[in-house]
Subunit: 256 residues, 8 copies
């Protein structure tokens, strides 16, 4: 559409129907989005294998139904995060083909199996962090990555972590999920030369302050190679891990 507008304008200039000066004037006020959208769309092409991700909270059930319907209609990949139990029930009743990942609180639709690439390893120290681990795992798989999950490798029992090191060396990116004191990312980054995405969780009590303790710990990780996402943000970690894992070969060439 926008390209059409622009092509029409240029063709009218080419046909002499519009003076360059008048075209210039029209172009000056051409709404931003049109050019902008085109270009953004263009580079968005790189994301073509990524499902759309819908943030569940704050949306009414009927809003969610409309969104889901429009995706299923076109058989597009879809992920809805942090869905409330009520919304899950209503959506599954209406769209029984949706996949529901209970502990991850995710609803998804994958049109067809795609080949997974590159290993993303997800580590955590205990069962309390499983909802976040699962959110990261399901998202990372939807995003087309090979995923390996290791739970129960917390700092208080490094004899369980150390034997996994050789296996972990095969991962391209590590997602480390931890509540409590949030020390696992430092430990892992000290053992492995791979990007570590640290996810603090809100599990804990008292001076944990709903994830503040592991968040601060991770931001202060003494081993370099660690960056942190929001508390309980398994999706965000998976998204970034996927961007890193699927980073294309070095881009060459010039820009206009």
């Amino acid at each position: 559409m926008n390209q059409e507008t622009l092509r029409n304008l240029l063709e009218r200039v080419a046909r002499g129907e519009l003076s360059p000066e008048a075209a210039l004037e029209e172009l000056r006020f051409l709404p931003f989005e049109d050019l902008g959208f085109a270009r953004l769309d263009h580079h968005r092409g790189l994301r073509k294998h990524f499902p759309e991700v819908i943030y569940g909270p704050g949306k009414t059930v009927s809003e969610l139904k409309k969104i889901v319907a429009s995706f299923l209609e076109k058989d597009l990949p879809l992920l809805v995060t942090r869905v409330s139990p009520e919304a899950v029930e209503a959506l599954l009743r209406e769209f029984p083909t949706l996949e529901y990942h209970e502990r991850a609180r995710l609803l998804g639709h994958r049109p067809r199996e795609q080949e997974a690439r590159g290993l993303v390893a997800i580590l955590s120290g205990g069962t309390s962090d499983l909802p976040v681990v699962e959110e990261a795992r399901v998202c990372a798989e939807y995003f087309g990555n090979r995923v390996e999950v290791l739970t129960d490798v917390g700092v208080a029992g490094i004899h369980r972590l150390l034997p996994e090191v050789p296996k972990l060396r095969q991962a391209r990116v590590l997602i480390v999920v931890a509540g409590m004191e949030g020390a696992l990312p430092s430990l892992v980054a000290g053992l492995l030369d791979r990007p570590v995405i640290a996810v603090p969780t809100s599990t804990g009590y008292g001076a944990n302050f709903s994830g503040l303790a592991p968040l601060l710990a991770m931001l202060n990780a003494c081993a370099p190679g660690v960056a942190v996402v929001n508390i309980d943000n398994g999706f965000g970690a998976a998204y970034l891990a996927s961007l890193i894992n699927q980073l294309p070969e070095e881009v060459h060439g010039t820009h206009p």
Copy 2:
């Protein structure tokens, strides 16, 4: 320049030197800023009577000298905020015509007197807040507003504030600067039907937590009509007050 680029392109299309399709391709990659800048510049024309404001901290003295020189050369209005004493000394030695407002920590240059419009009243409760009051006052005057300052009208002595109410009713906007418990904006907004811009200050000690106490108080003002800027941000309050005071008549018409 950018208009030149665009005009050249259109003229090449008009002359048949460039096909519409090829022109379309070039346009797609035309840097955003060029069109963007033009349009932004256009609406920035409304700001034409405002001096440029330079944030002092983090700039070296030699960087500041270059900036000031470039403004003075073109006789453009200029304000530099939060200038360190060392920078002030160096700049005044090199540019003796600069105006220096010591308590406001401002250096300025006003090419010519402009007629001030609309009254902006600045209120505060005590001498400790004077640096912020002065920053607001000098900025508001540079921005072309009539300014009246009332200090010593704190909540602990409302008998000093109440007799000023009739005078304050003539102001179009009120900037209320307060440290300690930050209660003055509520009081003023309860007395007057005017927009109140609240400026918390960091003066105080102990549970003041460098301005956190008045900041929170102001955000919780029980009288409506109050909005808050950053702690000690006299400049920001003056800028917003000026935008409000000089708000043009209702805009009519259509956009492209």
Copy 3:
């Protein structure tokens, strides 16, 4: 009544029934409010087109019923904010003519349509902020402003915001509602020379800390022209926007 008291006193002085000295003594102790109220009332006359706004929480249903009844009786405009679902049900059953705005949690009564003046634009980035957006919108309309709402223009997709800029330039005041990182007000204030009232919302999770993240971000907005109201305070933003939008022409004259 108070004027009556005062007039009686003066008439007794005029009739010689009361010496000036005795009248002076009585006046000295005349309760403040009487004089005060009169004067405040006087300047409150400016607010005459504003409905009364009742803060819902902390009031029992029976207290709310009494308040609503007394307004409806006199056919006065009325807004009740943050009403609990139970109170809504009880009040609507008793006063079926009340308007109920569900997402905004507002109950209102508007005696008659008034002509709306000046455009207030309300922007937000997503559906999660809709309750706050709606509170601001309904309030602003009750307060007599023309309102335009743009949701889905968050910082992560500026290609959706940029094409709206020309339209936004017609607004006299901008209310920008944002949760998450709260960056939208900076972006908007950088694009437009209009007062921006920033409303942080509590939507988000983890390191959002119930709105603390966007609140701090907005207070630190690098673009001037922004002031902030309390988290989720759509009503407060609408009230201030209305004060700004309906600011009378510059006041001239002297005070008594």
Copy 4:
């Protein structure tokens, strides 16, 4: 009992059954509490007109029943604070003579009317703070003080506060309850030369942070003569007000 122990010991010394040296040795290890308790009891005599105050939360219903029963049995004055609705129901069913103050969440028993002394004034700005106001009022009355309550005298409407000043001057102590920005204590302390006990409340939202905002504001009160108790602590304010109100004449004499 303890006095018995001691008397026995002394009588054994008097009868020559115990040498002074052996008695000395026994006394050295006499448990502290015995002597201590006696003395504390003695000075506790000053509190004789105060009912016992039981903190409700954390106690099971059956524990509360035992406590209440033991007081009623001896017809002793009693106050139970912050009682849960379930506990209230159970206790009233069992002890129907208990007085229940719903908004204050207090259960009480007063053996007989006592003459109230000295005026304690309780001020607040709105209906949201009523539970705390009521807790303070009921407690202060139980503690034997004359109490006057003024609600709806917030900072945003000082025309309602000012006419009450002459009446307030008759109070010996002022309890000022405020949520939101917590500014009322400063205002009151600036108007009156009386001890002001400030009670921040948790009513409010967003940047109120459950009473942190008014707490900090009150601690920073710019008018001297203000001290602060815990958020929502109406009981504590009443207790301190009562201590001040009933302060005996200056104590003379020496200590042992």
Copy 5:
């Protein structure tokens, strides 16, 4: 002056030179402050034995000189708090009769000895809190109270506090200064039936957070009868203690 204005007006009414209606109109606009100031002045008469207290920080040396000079000229009592060493030096050079209390950072002038009334006891746990203790002591003495100071009676050594209890029972008000864990006020309030004004201090390190730890502890004092002033606010504690100590006999009579 204001009384004059009012008397003239009333006399003109009495003489028939002004109609009651016209007088009413004039009175309506009579500035607030005039009546207000008179009344406030009136009740301020109660404070007549209190020296004026000037808050030092934020005032330039030359501003302080002017203030001090104006007080000394009239031989009025004066206290300047938190004076910087530079200001002290400059002021003492110019006004050698000023009393300087180094540890309390106070400069004062007392025209004549006044008889001290009622005992205010000041307690603290260690030498680190001495500057605050001294500020409280000097202020309380200037305000006309008898003062007794007990340092070194911290919670970690209650064997030093307990023997002082009989002496402390003679005090009418207790100021308890404490840093570290701030536990002393609870202990003291548990031992004595007197109003306890708690002053947290900023001495300490680490998780003391500049006085936050003792501030929170004191607000949570489990013994009733405690209220808290700002961190390090020895002056505020002394002021309130003085108000309590010198509370007049119960006020009788009616208000207009």
Copy 6:
């Protein structure tokens, strides 16, 4: 298994089937865990009299059932902390021999009575802290310690604490549980030369901030000999107390 691997390797070297160089190469890549696990197991032998402790939250009922079943099967000691009421009901129905400690929210199984060693004293100030006290008590008993509990010995009534001092001197470790201002550990550590483990509790309200107030107070304890565990962490205190109480005689000898 691992020892087997290693022994095989060494035997192959001894038999000349493997050159030392090749064995070296194999050893270099021998997984960490194998050696590591063995050694850790070895020193874990010291813990043999401790029951396993399972953290309840975040585990589903069916996960808990599996864990409990596997312990009961082998008649191993077991403790599950912070069990939700639903889980308790389900587990007790399935495993009726489990011991349930309601106030401590603990489920446990003790195969056989063991002789308790060394006295651990647990102190607290009131009934609100009982859940934490009980968690500490039950755990400490399961861990094989003699335990004595003293509640109702808060700082506001030291006459109840002091007579217990001689008895407390017989304890080897003291666990001091306190909410509110958290002052009890300082007091106790000032009276007794024993390690004090301080447990802040979340009971309280307002400026208690869910246990932050006592946590900070305890970290700032002015009496040395105090260390702090997480808010409400009765289990952690019991575990550490047990480690201290059962500390073996000084270890002699060398390490490899």
Copy 7:
């Protein structure tokens, strides 16, 4: 003295000069401290091998001189912590025999060598924490413990920590000092069955918030057996470690 008073009283009873009843009356008012002090002194006898520890900050140089002089005079053991460089210089000039530990900021005097008992191990991750490590080490040695220090064993390089485990197993108590993310205590407590005293340090920057990050991490340690002292409190850790290390055999017997 007090014993004298008491003995006199008992002898007067024995001689029949005083009736038991009158003696009882006198005893009731016998100041607390006298008995109290005696008893406290008694149990303080257990501390006899510990040097006195003086907290340096807040004391003037002349106060420190007096304290030091009084100790040296009697050749008593002495430690002064956190001494400022000025105080150090002045004290060393006057008392050249004092030992000065620069990095620990400690001044000390040890009358004679004592035999050290039981191993206290101090671990830390880097050179930045050395001042705290040194404070802990020097104090622990003064308190009569054998001390071993391991720096450079942080979580980011567990290959440096693991080989030390056998050696660490010989320690009776572990002091673990850590800044940054504060994860070392969890790791150590997971490896060793010994009491771990965790000391967060203020070294770090940004989201370390002067030690808040490691403090919270340590309070949330997922491995049990850890308790925490104040940020940078090396002395406190050493004191507690010493209490634990030198804990006497289980106390038997009864109390009076």
Copy 8:
């Protein structure tokens, strides 16, 4: 050395001088680090082109001198971060070949030029953030990456950012440095499908709280693909960017 130990042992087994069982026993106690170090070293080989990075603060000048000397001796690459001006002066005097990057506060030594790979783009909004930008830039270059720096592309002026988008698309990783409201990472991540490493800076004032505002904003970034490092941690961002940029092709194979 360790390999020697191990080889000797194996050779003794091979020669029959040591039984496999005895060798097993010796191996069991072989310190961890030896095997461990070897393996870690092995995988550390991947880091071979990375210079060692020394954290400057907390190290004395003489310690730094020793470290630098040992690196220069072996001509190893070296970076020292956050060096104090005094240390810089001392080190440059002694080691004049060191490169000093003043704004980045870095001292470095690069043995030889290496070919830079893959583009890392560093963006920031203003000159105040330059020290952090420079730290990131110098580190990223030392680590062997091609680096492009864009300052002055803040959210308040997106017309300066948008035209750079095509150039930025060539970067493999983006480091986004921002103080104030910290909104730039969201904006950038919304425009580009590349990993964004967000670095909050402490520049700002008031409610910036030394970088807390941008830190929280970045953790709440509404655009996915963002992770955050510590405030002002330019080095950490460069290290992680380098790990991502130089991520090897997908690893295949098995582990031992």
